[in-house]
């Protein structure tokens, strides 16, 4: 036994995790997210049927849930459950990849503006102001309309390129505030350059970035589904939740499960990511915990 004066302390990340784990909505969200991700990854193994196969376009047309089609079939007799699982792959790929790229891009620009000279800062931030004034959906519609058959990479990139402005602002203001702290000045006083400063600031800003990325995933998944619903995402026959809802729209009253299952999946996924995002925000910002504990009646 060592008789240390202080107990070996958990790292800040460990403490954040224990705060996260204490909140049931966050844990529930995380569980759901993990389940959905797992299902998407394992889709080829667990999907009961080929998502593109049309076994009996007449007899099985929009059949209600039953064995062996647990969630029924769509208008072309394709197995809904299999399509749902494969559709999850698209949604998650777009959501996670786009959010990641957007956050890296926004983080980089935010750091550049926050640590740069006033001229650099002004240039970048006025640029971001202009970009934020442009309607994102219209830009995406216009850009995606250029393709007949949109590749997945293009969708990811386009969504990322139009989605980093908010993060950059957040990071920039955070960096500015932190750079005024005495310990940041001390870093400079000891001979540190911009790279040292980055190293000192990153752990602080990481929380902002992680939370914003997680909350962004939900939004992007919705956005991608919306574009798909408008016929501008991955084209048929590739299943995406958006185009599945689109195909189910005409059958809404005769075979509601065709539109409702992907709709429900979408809702659950977005809520799950948002729960995780909220949980992370509370866990990574100790002051938020104190605030909600103090005035947490609502």
């Amino acid at each position: 036994m060592t008789a240390g004066l202080v107990a070996p302390s958990p790292t800040p990340w460990r403490q954040a995790w224990s705060r996260f784990a204490r909140r049931w909505p966050a844990v529930l969200g995380l569980g759901a997210v993990l389940l959905i991700v797992l299902a998407a990854l394992l889709a080829p193994a667990i999907a009961p049927h080929d998502p593109l196969a049309m076994p009996d376009p007449v007899g099985l047309r929009a059949a209600p849930p039953s064995w062996p089609h647990l969630l029924g079939t769509d208008a072309f007799s394709r197995d809904m459950l299999s399509r749902l699982l494969y559709g999850a792959r698209v949604s998650l790929a777009v959501g996670i990849a786009s959010a990641l790229i957007a956050v890296l891009l926004g983080g980089a620009v935010g750091f550049a503006a926050g640590l740069g000279s006033p001229a650099v800062d002004a240039l970048l931030m006025r640029g971001v102001d202009v970009a934020l004034a442009l309607p994102r959906v219209f830009i995406l519609l216009a850009a995606l309309a250029l393709w007949d058959d949109v590749p997945l990479g293009a969708i990811i990139l386009l969504i990322a390129l139009t989605g980093w402005f908010g993060v950059s602002r957040l990071v920039r203001s955070h960096v500015r505030r932190l750079a005024a702290e005495p310990w940041a000045a001390a870093t400079t006083a000891l001979g540190g350059g911009r790279r040292r400063m980055m190293r000192h600031l990153l752990p602080h800003v990481a929380a902002t970035i992680i939370v914003s990325a997680t909350l962004d995933i939900g939004n992007i998944i919705l956005l991608e589904a919306g574009l798909s619903f408008l016929g501008l995402g991955l084209g048929p026959p590739t299943p995406t939740w958006g185009n599945m809802i689109l195909e189910g729209r005409d059958l809404l009253f005769t075979a509601p499960w065709v539109a409702l299952t992907p709709g429900l999946a979408l809702t659950v996924t977005v809520i799950a990511f948002n729960l995780v995002g909220d949980g992370l925000r509370d866990a990574l910002d100790p002051r938020a915990v104190a605030r909600s504990a103090a005035g947490g009646v609502a």
Partner: protein
């Protein structure tokens, strides 16, 4: 080197504020010789901290350094150095210990990490070696269980321990000059003494010079060889330690010494210097101390005295040096404005 280690000449720093230009430091000459401890004393707002920052060019771009100013370290003008060479000086040749140990450490990095970083900034050593140096330095500044504590975070340390960590961080590269800006102000009196003893011991062991910035005359008396007294952006007196306390020349120094509580003299109230430091945007004409000076006469209100030789190695910015008889005529002049 025969010249001083640090040679500040005609240092002027101006801040442009909404209330006008503030000449926070206004023509200061100051030397620190190799291995010596120099005190820089003055009230809050007299410009002493700004000076400390200016030596490492940390006031820019908010503060504008005058074109005729120079800060030479072993003959090299720091004010003319390009950014990269300046970074090589910061922390390596000159290090600063700030006055707020609570906020001068990054709360999310371990203390060992932050000290090791100071090493890797300036020397080509492996991370492991830097870490070992950090632990060594922590032990040197008197942190118990240094190897273990190096993995801890700043919030797990007391104020005094944090100040020790900051000192370790400043000294790990063995700088020639340490600037300690109110190193003990935020600490308890007993801890203050410990830190001062530590600084003196480290100075002896590492052979560095120290510029000790403080408003605490007790610390100055104890720790320094020479003292500069600053008032309203200017030096008003410079003297060897003993001479300053034995026979202060400038009325401001006199007032500061009279205001120190002493156990050997009974007194109902502490003496104080009437009035307060004027704002840096509007220094009074003539001698800047005249509105608060008990001896001030006409000449003081119109003519700014230069630093006048008042004894061996002692200089004071006061006309009393030329007209010493006025001191004994007492306070016939109006002391208050």
């Amino acid at each position: 080197m025969s010249g001083p280690l640090l040679e500040i000449r005609d240092l002027r720093i101006t801040f442009h504020t909404a209330e006008g230009s503030a000449r926070a430091v206004d023509g200061v000459d100051l030397d620190v010789r190799v291995g010596e401890t120099v005190g820089l004393v003055g009230e809050s707002g007299c410009g002493k901290s700004v000076m400390a920052l200016a030596v490492l060019r940390l006031v820019e771009p908010d503060g504008i350094v005058g074109s005729g100013s120079s800060v030479r370290l072993e003959g090299r003008d720091l004010l003319a150095l390009p950014a990269k060479e300046l970074r090589a000086v910061r922390g390596n040749h000159i290090a600063i210990v700030f006055q707020e140990p609570a906020s001068a450490l990054n709360p999310v990095l371990t203390i060992g990490d932050q000290i090791a970083e100071a090493v890797t900034t300036h020397e080509k050593v492996s991370r492991r070696e830097a870490w070992e140096r950090a632990v060594e330095m922590l032990a040197l500044v008197g942190i118990p269980d240094a190897a273990e504590r190096a993995h801890g975070y700043p919030h797990q340390l007391s104020g005094g321990m944090r100040q020790r960590v900051l000192i370790a961080m400043a000294l790990v590269c063995r700088p020639r000059l340490l600037i300690a800006d109110e190193p003990t102000t935020a600490l308890d009196v007993t801890i203050q003494a410990e830190i001062l003893v530590l600084l003196a011991e480290l100075q002896r062991r590492l052979g560095m010079a120290v510029l000790l910035i403080t408003h605490n005359l007790g610390i100055v008396a104890e720790a320094t060889q020479r003292v500069y007294v600053m008032y309203a952006g200017q030096l008003v007196e410079e003297a060897p330690n003993v001479a300053l306390f034995a026979h202060p020349v400038h009325p401001y120094t006199e007032g500061l010494l009279a205001a120190v509580p002493r156990l050997d003299r009974k007194r109902d109230r502490l003496a104080q210097i009437p009035g307060q430091v004027p704002p840096a945007t509007a220094w009074p004409p003539g001698c800047r101390f005249h509105p608060r000076c008990p001896y001030a006469w006409d000449r003081c209100r119109t003519e700014m005295p230069p630093l006048l030789e008042a004894g061996p190695e002692q200089k004071a910015r006061c006309w009393l040096v030329q007209e010493p008889e006025r001191r004994h005529q007492g306070t016939e002049g109006d002391g208050s404005p």
